[in-house]
């Protein structure tokens, strides 16, 4: 970070910058700066494009904070430490396993076991020939920028599951599930489309991952909710035999709202960065469709909630915002602004009914992850066929079905296997005491008087 003291090096930087050559490499003892051929326009494009991908990666990173806040806010105070812990671990495990195996699995670069279906397992990043080359991806961005951006995506899938299984899952079992899901399931599905596999050949369009990221996470969430069962006290049998839904209120609406704002912010990087360049027209366009879909989701969720619940529910509006965002993710690059308002608006309606409907089915999803990510992920994927020109409904359905057929059974299997080995759910006493006490022997809000009979 030195200035004058490293005068000579700065000179090199100035040149290096102009030719987009390697500063770190230079420091690391690389052969030095190659002959500067000024005026290489592509290099300067690389400079801006690569920068945008990195910034977008940092924005996607913020989504993990958003998920943590949202999930914490919508659950009870007695499980707060545990939820924060899980979310902190997921991003760490996500990054490490993706570096170890996931990235190469997802982008096999022609290296398949079964062409288009099963990529080769190649461990470690930075092992491929072009890992140190700025010429990677035809000079659009560097290898490491691509890795970090994709790695931030990867952890998202597991985070989605986290919210749905919160307040009752064993920490260890959840971490094992997450590691396998991020390291293997997500990348294999991803390789079918983004890795150039059969779904890509089929013409499936999923710009930033309504299906590839969100539905994949959503299927895992659904499997987890089914295997785990509802939280104690959520569905109460009355004396007359009927079951009543007893709401388990989240303990901090500010945390939940902060989470959604941060997720929206991160989504500009999630969708905007998925252009994989700083191309002015596309990125600007994606920003607008993303923002309008979220806004529309908020408004329609409010109206739906007002009608269905008589008074508008903040958590429904928060879910509506995310529903709009998940909805537009598949087609943010190809759906017009007007179309994006419709797509987001429909998602905002769907999500409210989905949350209420899943509750009727006794599928206890504390944060609405299934409704937001799975249901609206499917809607968004379909919407591409309806609102963009030249996209095939069949291909979209293929993509959706492929996710269902791959991810849901595998997730079910994983959860079931954990249930019969390590155990999946904490004991009744632990659940009543709260996972903070049971799993961490800690308090989340030391000193605060918290009163709850749930």
């Amino acid at each position: 970070m030195g200035r004058t003291g490293v005068a000579f090096k700065l000179g090199v930087v100035a040149l290096a910058v102009a030719s987009a050559s390697a500063f770190a490499q230079d420091e690391a003892g690389a052969p030095g700066v190659p002959g500067v051929t000024a005026g290489e326009v592509a290099d300067l494009g690389l400079l801006a494009n690569n920068l945008w991908i990195l910034i977008a990666a940092a924005m996607v990173f913020v989504m993990h904070l958003g998920f943590s806040c949202l999930e914490t806010g919508l659950t009870r105070a007695k499980n707060t430490v545990n939820i924060l812990f899980k979310n902190m671990m997921i991003i760490a495990i996500g990054l490490l396993t993706y570096a170890l195996i996931g990235f190469n699995l997802m982008y096999p670069d022609g290296n398949w076991i079964i062409e288009g279906w099963l990529p080769a397992f190649v461990p470690g990043i930075g092992m491929s020939d072009d890992y140190d080359s700025v010429g990677y991806a035809d000079g659009s961005y560097t290898y490491y920028a691509d890795f970090i951006f994709q790695a931030m995506f990867a952890a998202t899938a597991a985070t989605i599951v986290s919210g749905a299984v919160a307040e009752r899952i064993k920490l260890g079992s959840f971490l094992i599930f997450s590691a396998i899901y991020v390291a293997i399931v997500y990348p294999i599905y991803g390789s079918w489309k983004w890795g150039g596999g059969w779904l890509d050949d089929a013409g499936f369009h999923d710009f930033a991952g309504s299906t590839i990221v969100h539905s994949v996470g959503g299927w895992g969430a659904l499997a987890g909710v089914i295997v785990l069962g509802p939280r104690l006290g959520k569905y109460l049998k009355r004396e007359d035999g009927k079951t009543v839904i007893s709401p388990i209120m989240g303990h901090s609406m500010p945390l939940a709202a902060i989470g959604v704002f941060l997720l929206w912010f991160g989504w500009f990087g999630f969708n905007g960065g998925s252009v994989l360049s700083a191309d002015p027209e596309s990125v600007s366009f994606v920003f607008v469709t993303t923002a309008l879909a979220a806004a529309a989701g908020i408004v329609t969720a409010m109206i739906t909630s007002q009608i269905a619940q008589r008074k508008p529910d903040l958590t429904m509006v928060l879910n509506g915002c995310l529903a709009g965002l998940v909805g537009i993710t598949a087609g943010a690059d190809v759906i017009s602004p007007t179309g994006s308002i419709i797509v987001g608006g429909v998602a905002g309606v769907i999500v409210v009914f989905s949350v209420i409907g899943l509750d009727r089915l006794k599928l206890d999803d504390p944060v609405g992850a299934i409704s937001v990510h799975l249901v609206c992920g499917i809607w968004g994927t379909l919407a591409v066929a309806f609102f963009a020109e030249g996209k095939s409904l069949v291909a979209q359905l293929q993509g959706i079905a492929a996710a269902a057929v791959l991810c849901f059974p595998v997730a079910l299997l994983l959860f079931a296997a954990l249930r019969f080995t390590l155990g999946l759910r904490v004991s009744r006493a632990e659940e009543l005491a709260g996972l903070d006490q049971a799993e961490h022997a800690m308090e989340s809000y030391a000193g605060f008087q918290i009163f709850s009979n749930q």
């Binding site: 839904i245 007893s246 709401p247 958590t315 509750d359």
Partner: protein, 122 residues
């Protein structure tokens, strides 16, 4: 000596305290409480499911007084604690303003000095 316990609406605390102060009852202890009485339950909702909250926020007062102050204290609490026109609770005959309970107090000590009995109370 008597121990007066009262449950009142939180928003009436200032009024009650003022009424007590006029009655020269200055030492009181206050706790946060939830009460279930005649008052109508509040309807709450969360993510599509409704719930009737029958435990309402109340404030609990505990006041130790000498005999001659008991009536004054009770009167002051009733005066300050009853809902006035325009306030919540005033329009409904169904209540929620609270109760006053009077118990016999056998003994009283002042921690600072170790004083005991009537002298310790004030």
């Amino acid at each position: 000596m008597r121990l007066v316990i009262a449950y009142i609406r939180p928003e009436k605390l200032t009024d009650v305290k003022n009424a007590l102060a006029k009655a020269e009852v200055l030492k009181i202890s206050v706790t946060n409480a939830l009460g279930c009485g005649d008052e109508p339950a509040t309807h709450e909702q969360y993510r599509g499911a409704g719930i009737e909250v029958d435990l309402q926020k109340r404030v609990r007062l505990e006041i130790a007084v000498n005999e001659q102050y008991v009536d004054k204290t009770v009167k002051a609490i009733i005066e300050g604690g009853a809902a006035k026109a325009g306030e919540p609770g005033a329009d409904q005959s169904s209540g929620g303003d609270g109760k006053i309970f009077v118990l016999a107090l056998e003994d009283c000590y002042r921690i600072r000095t170790g004083e005991r009995g009537d002298d310790a109370i004030g």
